[in-house]
């Protein structure tokens, strides 16, 4: 029993180490040559939540301002309203990333060249993203969005990195390859 426990702890530690060492592998894929990733993704009907919204929603500044009034009913109203926006952001982010992962699979089926290291990095970071989203959901419900700011920052960073990765690949495709990706994408929707 103890052996299995230590094996489980070791595997979890190795996974965390793998995620830590590959955390920048996805982020380091730079997006060049196209003005805006959103316009590229719009061709595939993918819209991600604006980064500025996450910065505002999860910032403590507004919460600390509300606390100065010392009015519990105001704090309740503010938390209720801000939590709803945070949940909406989380739903959009989860949906957007899920769609990006499906787009990436569609590109891989059209024989997009990728490296094992990059695939592993994307997979591991996506796994952490999924877990973080669940924790975020609980954290928002329990304390409010201001106490899960760091985790929200990670999910935003991963979303932007994955978006940039997909856009970089799309920008590098020729017209024929891009048409095949769009056909593959249309077939999976």
């Amino acid at each position: 029993m103890e052996l299995w426990f230590f094996i489980a702890i070791s595997v979890a530690f190795l996974l965390l180490l793998a995620v830590w060492t590959t955390r920048n592998a996805v982020a380091n894929v730079h997006f060049r040559g196209v003005e805006s990733s959103q316009s590229v993704l719009a061709d595939f009907h993918i819209t991600l939540p604006p980064v500025a919204v996450a910065k505002r929603v999860f910032a403590r500044e507004d919460w600390e301002f509300i606390l100065k009034y010392g009015r519990p009913e105001l704090e309740r109203l503010f938390l209720y309203e801000r939590k709803n926006v945070a949940y909406s952001w989380l739903r959009r982010t989860r949906s957007g990333v899920g769609t990006l992962m499906r787009l990436r699979r569609a590109m891989l089926r059209v024989n997009m060249h990728s490296t094992l290291g990059l695939d592993l990095a994307v997979f591991l970071n996506y796994a952490v993203f999924v877990v973080f989203c669940r924790i975020l959901e609980l954290g928002i419900w329990w304390r409010g969005p201001f106490f899960v700011q760091t985790m929200a920052g990670y999910t935003t960073q991963f979303t932007q990195s994955l978006s940039s990765l997909c856009c970089a690949v799309l920008a590098a495709l020729n017209n024929e390859q891009r048409s095949r990706v769009q056909a593959q994408w249309a077939a999976t929707r």
């Binding site: 500025a52 500044e61 507004d62 109203l77 309203e81």
Partner: protein, 150 residues
């Protein structure tokens, strides 16, 4: 009209609008309400006689739409405290007391039609939430999240 010429005209119209009309308004909240008020609710077209006379109606409408989006972005990027200050400045300039303004805005929610066209739904949701909270601060009374202020 070529695209390049039209873009230059729109930039000129934007500068004209900012320097003449919008500069006279006390804050971004005032400008937001003003720009929403000169928009036709049925067609989403903006009408400004002076600007249309100096440029064309098409250019004027495009410039007004661009300014509306820019100002809305500024308002939504601001903190709750800054938004509260802006509403506090705007209310008297609208010719009413703060109390009456808060009651009217809490009941009718006219801020919902001040947003520009094609705004991200999440940004709009954040804006509405912040304005609702700011009104609750000003009212000094309880507004429960599940019911409207009477």
């Amino acid at each position: 009209m070529s695209a390049a010429i039209k873009r230059i005209d729109i930039e000129a119209a934007i500068n004209d609008l900012k320097n003449r009309t919008l500069a006279a308004l006390p804050c971004d909240m005032s400008r937001l309400v003003y720009l929403a008020s000169i928009r036709d609710y049925n067609t989403a077209q903006y009408y400004h006689a002076g600007l249309a006379a100096r440029f064309t109606e098409e250019v004027a409408s495009s410039a007004l739409a661009a300014c509306h989006r820019e100002i809305f972005d500024n308002v939504t990027a601001s903190s709750l405290e800054e938004l509260l200050n802006q509403i506090t400045i705007f209310a008297p300039s609208a010719g009413t007391s703060i109390d009456r303004f808060v009651v009217a805005w809490s009941k009718l929610e006219p801020y919902r039609i001040t947003i520009p066209d094609e705004v991200d739904s999440l940004v709009a949701e954040l804006f509405f939430a912040n304005v609702k909270t700011a009104l609750a601060i000003l009212s000094g009374s309880t507004v429960d999240g599940s019911q409207q202020c009477a």
